[in-house]
Symmetry: C2
């Protein structure tokens, strides 16, 4: 049940972009440096995100990438599906023809529930949520007052 580096790096790259974008496009090189991902690998991770309309790019000097939509409209489910393919833990959940016993398989039901649980988290989390979490983490520790 592992996420590959595509999903991990891709998510981190998008969060980085969300946090650093302003008027200017952000060069991939900067994201790669901050996130310690090889530029050439990052390029390949960004490509499908551009194709699917999560990221927009401009070439040439002063070029770079930016989010194609506001962060609260970018769900993690969309990102992960785009980078890792289907979220389903086993093939037969999406595609009953994958296994002859699918229709009568109790195990498959559970994998379906597992998928629902995973989807639940990823559907309900947006880049905005990630940004807020990140900012909260970086905010200097506040003094706690107890009643």
């Amino acid at each position: 049940m592992r996420l590959s580096t595509r999903g991990q790096y891709g998510t981190r790259a998008l969060l980085d972009l969300a946090l650093h974008q302003d008027e200017e496009p952000v060069p991939l090189k900067e994201i790669a440096q901050r996130q310690q991902i090889s530029l050439q690998y990052l390029e390949h991770l960004i490509a499908p995100l551009i194709a699917t309309g999560i990221v927009r790019s401009t070439r040439g000097a002063r070029g770079g990438v930016c989010l194609a939509r506001p962060p609260h409209e970018i769900r993690l489910s969309e990102v992960i599906r785009n980078l890792e393919g289907s979220i389903s833990p086993v093939e037969c959940v999406n595609n009953p023809e994958a296994c002859a016993r699918a229709e009568l398989c109790a195990a498959r039901d559970i994998w379906g529930e597992l998928k629902k649980a995973i989807d639940g988290v990823l559907e309900s989390t947006t880049l905005q949520d990630l940004m807020e979490r990140q900012k909260r983490k970086e905010k200097p520790q506040e003094v706690m007052y107890y009643i």
Copy 2:
């Protein structure tokens, strides 16, 4: 986010065993045939389940395997962890030293929630649950009476 065949086959094999065991041990060959898993592969999947105390085996003629505990005491989480290793979707969730930025990483928080969601399903499902589901599925369709 895929489960490998180890987890899939292992779960199916245990469910099969649960449904077919009675006084006699069940030979792996039978499970392999019913579940269409190669005997030699199944042997390797069962080995860790024996080692961890989920399954008991007896060798020799009329030998085979049986569950070491009642099905309601065997959680899917234990099975999957045993067959696939940690349930964590990324290394850093369990092991913060895996990534220098772990402590300040919002993405990691989400992977943690993802793990919790997955754990929730697997911890709350026992072999007994699977058995009941399976029996319900195989029961001839009952006529439904509507009030």
